[in-house]
Amino acid sequence: MFTDKNLPNVSRRALLTGGLATGFLLAFHLPLRAAANEPEQKDTTDGRFAPNAFIRIDETGRTVLMMPQVEMGQGVYTSIAMILAEELDADWAKVEVQHAPPNDKLYANPVFGLQATGGSTSIRAWWKPLRAAGASARAMLVQAAAAQWQVDPASCTASKGEVVHAASSRKIGYGELALAAQGQTPPKDVAVKDPKDFVIIGQPLKRLDTPDKVNGKVVYGIDAILPNMKIAVIANCPVFGGKVGKVDDTGAMKVAGVRKIVVLEDTVAVIGDHTWAAQKGLEALKIEWNEGPNAKISTKDIWQDLRAASEKDGAIAKSVGDIAKGLASGDRFEASFELPFLAHASMEPINATVHVRPDACEIWTGTQIMTRVQAEAAKAAGVPVDKVIVNQHLLGGGFGRKLEPDMVVAAVKIAKQVDYPVKVIWTREEDIQHDVYRPVYRDQVTATLVDGKVSAWKYKIAGSAVIARWLPPAFQKGIDIDAVDAAADMPYDFPNFQVEYVRAEPPAVPTGFWRGVGPNNNVFAFECAMDELARKAGKDPVEFRRAHLTKNPRALAVLNLVAEKSGWGERLPPRVGRGVCVQPSFASYLATVVEAEIDDIGEIVLRRITSVIDTGIAVNPDTVKAQIEGGLIFGLTAALYGEITIDKGRVQQSNFHDYRMMRINETPKIEVIVVKSGEAPGGIGEAGVNAGPPALRNAIYAATGVALRRLPIDRKLLAAGRKA
């Protein structure tokens, strides 16, 4: 019997108290759909031990751990396996990991009630349930050994894949116990380890997914190869919401290797023997588009609308003290901060391989939402959900783009037209121009200073409500809990504080989660505003922050340490500045100092970055470091270059020449210090992303006095002596 009863439901509540920033999420219970593909059922004849949805041990001791979260570079396969292996006392050398099949009943992320990987929730969400799952399995193995030896289970211990009875100097491997353990009843209440006894958690273990990534062996979705498979390249209508008009395929069908042209409502696909043939075919295709009503939209107009919307009163997301009274006196500061549309641009371009058979639909892809993909594919293919097989692959980057099922749905519609498997590949141009974009946001801060400290802070966020579309039940009282997340959880103590949200949806432009999610806009705005307020108060930025962190010891501690490690306050040459950013996001505390030089023509040279992170218990400290390092680069890339603009209803960027990425020759030394902590683990996949932009902006502010309030950074404003 396959069971998930060892996964206590309380885990959700625990999560909240564990500091999940968006506490609202717990307020609803999402009905879980019946499991579509039951994962392999327990089969007592194969000698395997399968105590729950996550652990499989065969008679050789091979330990396969089922991964409920997907691996997209964040190292979660290793970290999750470490949590399970720790409590299981598994032999790490025998641990293997496997993608879990789509099944919300067994593998739903407790935060979302859905098998989704995002929002830096993996470790936070699974920390308790997986420890319990591991501990329960260990207890069953111990029980089995004790029964065999006819000793008290309490007299046995477990270590490195063996149960040990010290008194009689007997040991037995998990493999040998597998069959017997399967017959054991899981214990009712099983204790998890005291963190001081951890032998795996907290170690910088080598990742399990990387050895195959150095030799080309790893198979991403785009690498799927199936018998008789053909390859499709697509053109989506360049205008948002536009449709296919006329298609003249005379030229395309003459291209050698082109097999078929598939015309969907808003997409045209050319299927060929190989990508090149399909691409050439697509070039030879004459497509007339019905551009529809959105052919006039532009980012210029969208900004105008957003600015107007942000002048309205918003829904109040948080209120402390008396904001009106607080704002009525003191030294007043007002500023608005604006963030552009952004594309995800994961290195693996969007793709999905689909084979629609008379009785089933099989999918090969890398997605962050396995069950949603399965359900949407079922609808598109017209088959029952349980006839949709999703073969999950490692992701060549996700960053939130693969929290959407659109690419799979389109691929199913294309594959439906043929009887062979089709791999649908989006060119980089399609990937950039038909993304689901990080929304434009406008954050307004109105604050007053009294005696050099913030007395009141009114914070209004205007922008798209991604939550309302992606997780509708979570959108309540007109508030996007994600868009205001880090604003409501600002680290600073202000006597009068109010957060408001104005929902402002750009016309026709699809918006979605982008690595860093809501705190993206919040952290940038409040940390920029803090620097300007510090200057207004005549205080050093670090000093000014400290004065507001008296009630937040974890944030204060990381700030103090980063100031020390970064050489804060030490003299710098002209046009070199340090900028600081403090943030509690995703239940982690991160303080970052960026040191940058702004040369005479306004070019920015990053000199040094120092980050201190308190993420509670760092399951794998090296992964934590890597995520902060990479997150910083991701965020700084956006700060320096990231902007999607729209004209005539079309995205104007298309590839890396005009949607620019930071490169190695722009990357400074990055020092990341992981603070030892006994708190429950926080999220780390996104914190670094949000730290980069404000810290760099504040460094520029320190170096040049230019207070940038918009991203990406306009380097024209930074040239010495040149009029902007």
Binding site: T275, W276, M347, R428, I664
Partner: protein
């Protein structure tokens, strides 16, 4: 008309139009998917292979241009001394995150070590700036290249 190429020391014969980029020949005709498609315009480096030992972007390299030249891909670079050193250093320094760009990064780094056995930061910048990593592993790439050059272990 069959095209004949020497890839990883083996002779491969196949049908492909002469202008077809080597990338698609490798991936779609020969089934060697270690070499990645990233941009198609030589701006990201994910498709880097070695042609006569030099790093070349296969997404813009017509297959006709490599007839009679030795092509090495990520699947075989571990068989070369510099490639093996780079792969080991990559794992020792735990460079990789999503890994999608890393075939190209490793190919570029291995070619760098052949031409410049002891690269300094400027050499690394010159050889590696054409390879984009969206996960931002650049700090570790730099470190790993230095480790590979020194034969130092972490």
């Amino acid at each position: 008309m069959a095209t004949v190429l020497t890839i990883n020391g083996e002779t491969k014969s196949f049908d492909a139009p002469p202008e077809m980029p080597l990338l698609w020949v490798l991936r779609d005709i020969l089934g060697m998917t270690g070499t990645k498609f990233g941009c198609g315009i030589a701006q990201c480096g994910a498709c880097t292979v070695h042609v006569d030992g030099k790093a070349v972007r296969s997404c813009v390299l017509p297959v006709s241009a490599v007839a009679n030249r030795a092509v090495t891909t990520i699947e075989h670079v571990g068989g070369t001394p510099s490639g093996a050193k780079v792969q080991k250093a990559w794992l020792d320094a735990e460079v990789i995150q999503c890994g999608y760009c890393q075939s190209g990064q490793i190919m570029s780094a291995a070619a760098l070590l052949v031409s410049t056995p002891n690269p300094d930061d400027a050499d690394i910048d010159a050889a590696m700036a054409g390879n984009i990593c969206r996960c931002g592993t650049y700090v570790r790439i730099r470190e790993a290249i230095k480790q590979a050059a020194n034969g130092r272990q972490s």
